[in-house]
């Protein structure tokens, strides 16, 4: 059941990213281009997502001792702001600003078979492997 839920959530994610316009790098860059022809529409993506997630999360926190199909919640527990968090966010922001693509939309774009998406994803995977290495040493 766990696997079916993960598949459904993934499909929902792919549909949500496509309908919202997040899969289109030009829309993302226009959202980030506050000094140019700013297109604020993507701000509504986060509004829509949080409008559902925040009340749902708060409700689950008070009413549920465990998830429906798992033994326990696997949630991050840290609350300290450390250097890797800050450095990672800056590096991520740089890459997102250069390309207009973040990990979810990159993978959602795969079925478009655009060779440039393959290039982006391979570079992204290399970056992830490098970060995993740096983090564990």
């Amino acid at each position: 059941m766990n696997l079916i839920i993960a598949l459904i959530a993934g499909i929902g994610f792919g549909i949500g990213l496509t309908i919202s316009g997040m899969v289109e790098p030009l829309i993302v860059l226009a959202f980030l281009d506050v000094a140019g022809a700013w297109d604020p529409s993507l701000a509504f993506v986060m509004c829509g997502a949080l409008a559902v997630f925040i009340p749902g999360y708060l409700l689950s926190k008070t009413k549920m001792s465990k998830p429906i199909f798992a033994a326990s919640f696997s949630l991050p527990t840290r609350s300290d702001i450390d250097k890797p968090l800050l450095i990672g966010a800056v590096i991520f922001g740089l890459g997102w600003g250069i390309s207009g693509i973040c990990p979810g939309p990159a993978i959602a774009n795969l079925s478009g078979m655009d060779e440039k998406i393959f290039g982006f994803i391979i570079a992204m995977l290399v970056g992830m492997i490098a970060a995993n290495k740096v983090k564990t040493t």
């Binding site: 991050p76 609350s79 590096i91």
Partner: protein, 137 residues
């Protein structure tokens, strides 16, 4: 500019999908975390594969309607540099637009709120530099 309905609907679908994964499986829908854990080839990755398959299938399902994936117009250097930085930064900084942006902010995590503020600002500055100072894209 006025087209906020689709971003809003897409965002709601992202929120519902994230919430489903949380209340059913107790998992965070963070794409960079899911993908980077797949790279570690560890046991317990089956649900992550299912999520990624769904993420690819979602847009395919949508293509039966009027939604299509974009052509990627950015230059190769922007995609490769962007991919490397996005991959490294998201793993080093423990999350990206989905994990920090939806689930993290949705749980009011101080780490995630900090991360999102920093990567949004960095990305906006990056776009300002590439578009208005260097005149690319």
């Amino acid at each position: 500019m006025t087209d906020f309905i689709e971003p809003l609907i897409g965002g709601v679908i992202l929120g519902v999908s994230s919430l489903l994964l949380l209340v059913a499986n107790g998992r965070i829908a963070g794409i960079s975390g899911i993908v980077s854990n797949l790279l570690k080839l560890q046991p317990g990755n089956a649900w992550r594969w299912m999520f990624v398959i769904g993420l690819i299938l979602g847009p395919v399902v949508l293509q039966t309607t009027s939604y299509n994936l974009p052509n990627i117009n950015s230059s190769w250097w922007m995609l490769i540099a962007g991919g490397l930085l996005v991959g490294f930064g998201s793993v080093f900084g423990s999350g990206c637009t989905s994990g920090h942006g939806i689930c993290g902010i949705g749980r009011l995590s101080p780490r995630s709120i900090t991360s999102v503020v920093i990567f949004m600002a960095t990305a906006a500055i990056t776009v300002f530099v590439t578009r208005h100072l260097l005149g690319a894209a």
